[in-house]
């Protein structure tokens, strides 16, 4: 029997189908590409935010010299730091961890973190703020397989102890300020590294170990005040490594 009319291959129809498929598929790509570009366009805003925050922290330093404690707006800055770290994580996922723009933003963010840390350390002393600090250095998962786990534990600590401020730094970031920190604390190349009150702790510390260490410096219960806010220092760290 000859081929039935239904079975006959209509090339024109299949090409039309291909055309519509390409159109819809292309539109899908265009839509996602558009939103990605929009996201990248926000990088400039983010960079601007970081610059403004750095300036703001410097200003607060000056204010602290003139009128200690009176006008310190710690929670706003901490929240801003939290928000920027989240955006930075998102940018890292979109652009890739090795992207030049992302690394540049990371440097800005690291400077902001250092300035924030310096200000809060001083404020904690002079204004008797019940704060504790951890400086955390990480590397990527190839060089530091346990950094991801450590980052997650520190994120947990940050969430559990709102008065705990955790600042995370990429150990290999090409930034003079980080190199200075490394030489100030005389760090060895053995990440993960945590600096607590100038004491350096190298290697992975479990939740229990870290709690025991922290208890040496501060009553952890005193950091549990639910009314305070916390930094998001590790929200990038757990994903960046």
């Amino acid at each position: 029997m000859a081929i039935t009319p239904e079975k006959k291959f209509n090339t024109q129809k299949y090409i039309s189908v291909l055309f519509f498929t390409l159109l819809i598929f292309g539109s899908g790509f265009f839509l996602s590409d558009y939103t990605t570009k929009k996201r990248i366009a926000q990088l400039n805003d983010l960079q601007q935010n970081l610059r403004t925050d750095i300036l703001s922290l410097e200003t607060q330093f000056s204010i602290l010299n003139q009128a200690p404690c009176a006008n310190l707006n710690e929670s706003t800055l901490t929240n801003e730091l939290y928000s920027i770290s989240q955006k930075l994580t998102s940018v890292g996922t979109t652009l890739g961890e090795d992207d030049g723009n992302f690394l540049e933003l990371k440097k800005y963010y690291s400077i902001l973190e250092i300035k924030h840390w310096l200000l809060l350390q001083r404020a904690a002393k002079e204004c008797k703020l019940p704060l504790a600090f951890i400086i955390y250095f990480y590397e990527d998962s190839k060089n530091c397989p346990q950094c991801e786990d450590q980052g997650y534990i520190l994120t947990y600590f940050r969430e559990k102890y709102p008065f705990l401020r955790i600042y995370s730094f990429d150990y290999n970031l090409d930034l003079a300020a980080i190199k200075t920190l490394k030489s100030v604390f005389r760090l060895q190349d053995e990440t993960p590294i945590m600096v607590i009150n100038s004491d350096v702790y190298c290697g992975y510390k479990s939740k229990d170990e870290l709690e025991t260490i922290m208890e040496k410096y501060v009553k952890l219960e005193s950091l549990e005040d639910k009314t305070a806010t916390s930094t998001a220092a590790t929200s990038t760290s757990s994903k960046k490594k």
Binding site: K7, K8, F25, L31, T35, Y156, S206
Partner: protein, 420 residues
């Protein structure tokens, strides 16, 4: 690994989208002939064969639905064949025959469904011969609706729309949604001359079909699939009647469903191997395109699902590790400040996933609309969307292993006539 997933997802979505658009364009092209409108002026004589093996719980209901068909009794011949059942199937048939003497009851040694059909076909007197499974119930108007399609002299077989009877359990729900979608696609494919099964639940044939192509064969335990491929190999036209519903019992558990699907899919591959000339594009046009497309689709979906499973497992293990790190103390993470919508990213993959989901839901809702399905939609459809791709990939993997190893499959419980 991520890159491979992305490549597969894009290819898979593109292929699915292409098929979806082909379906919608074909639907639009044939919008005026979705149902056969030609009135049935001359009612042909019809013989319906009901092969049974160990169907004592179903045979009576099935026979009742057949005698309740809206069709003149003098033109309807019902032949129930007991394929050497070990239970009371034969007694039930005979008891029913006492009340309805027009029904013919045949009995034979067990030999498989195809032998039961082949015993009855030569004895059938109808111009049209139908086959029905014993666990199926036919809507009273189904026969007349199907017969209308024989108005076209080229149509040699007509298939019905299979639905799941009273979907109650999760397994029923999954099969319900699957049958709705496959019913929709089957009709569209019929416009392209691409039907590859004349399903056991209810199919009608012109009597001469069997004279031309011969009797049923064992055909790797999928005689209904082989028969359709045989008709296709001879360029015989198979039509699909959306408006004729037959209700089958869903498989009650994963094991029996898997056995059934393994048999179907294995039958598809092995019968396709036997009928490999159907893949000849010049000779079979749309049909060969659809067959090659479905083979590629099987490969793509299995690869994609396997890679997704790998990613999901990796993610789950990662989260378990994190839970272990913090001694399962998740309380600190549950605070409002952690809530943000930043994770909703319109990545190309997300867009493609959304397109694929929209497509499958589109098929489901159109399938319901065109097959006049009124049953309520409940949460089971979401389980179907979530579970079915994984189940299907799992079955295809088992099927491929079974085909490659050359292991022969047996009917359920070594009962050669039992439909699984």
């Amino acid at each position: 690994m991520i890159d491979l997933i992305e490549i597969l997802t894009y290819t898979g979505t593109f292929a699915a989208l292409y098929f979806g658009i082909l379906v919608f364009i074909t639907l639009a092209e044939n919008r005026h002939c979705l149902y056969e409108k030609t009135p049935l002026l001359n009612l042909p004589s019809v013989s319906i064969i009901l092969p049974c093996f160990n169907e004592e719980n179903n045979v009576e209901d099935s026979l009742i639905s057949l005698v309740n068909l809206d069709y003149p009794q003098d033109k309807l011949e019902i032949i129930a064949v007991d394929d050497g059942s070990h239970d009371n199937t034969l007694d039930k048939m005979l008891a029913f025959q006492l009340k309805n003497p027009t029904i013919k009851v045949l009995h034979k040694e067990n030999g498989g469904k195809h032998t039961a059909l082949n015993l009855a076909i030569p004895q059938a007197t109808g111009e049209i011969i139908g086959t029905i499974d014993a666990d199926c119930l036919v809507e009273p108007n189904a026969l007349k609706q199907m017969l209308k399609y024989f108005h076209d002299p080229k149509v040699m077989a007509v298939v019905s729309t299979i639905k799941v009877r009273q979907p109650r359990t999760l397994m029923d729900g999954i099969q319900y949604a699957e049958f709705i979608v496959s019913g929709f696609i089957k009709k569209i494919i019929s416009f392209l001359g691409g039907l590859t099964v004349t399903p056991g639940p209810l199919s009608l044939f012109r009597q001469e079909t069997f004279t031309i192509v011969g009797p049923y064969r064992q055909a790797h335990l999928t005689e209904d699939l082989e028969m359709a491929l045989r008709l296709q190999s001879q360029n015989m036209k198979i039509a699909c009647a959306w408006e004729a519903a037959v209700y089958t019992k869903g498989k009650p558990d994963l094991k029996s469903l898997s056995q059934q699907r393994l048999r179907w899919q294995r039958g598809f591959l092995l019968n396709l191997k036997d009928y490999s000339p159907l893949l000849n594009f010049r000779a079979h046009g749309n049909l060969s395109f659809l067959l090659i497309y479905s083979l590629a689709g099987i490969f793509l979906s299995v690869a994609l699902i396997l890679l997704s499973l790998f990613q999901i497992t990796k993610g789950v293990l990662g989260h378990l590790n994190q839970a272990w790190l913090i001694k399962f103390d998740f309380l600190p993470f549950f605070s409002f400040k952690n809530f943000n919508l930043d994770w909703i990213k319109l990545t190309p993959l997300a867009v493609m996933g959304f397109l694929a989901l929209a497509l499958i839901l589109g098929f489901f809702f159109l399938g319901r609309k065109y097959t006049f399905e009124k049953g309520k939609i409940d949460e089971k459809i979401f389980f179907w969307i979530l579970l079915y791709p994984f189940l299907n990939a799992f079955w295809w993997i088992l099927t491929t292993a079974s085909v490659v190893s050359g292991r022969e499959m047996k009917w359920h419980g070594n009962n050669p006539g039992k439909k699984i």
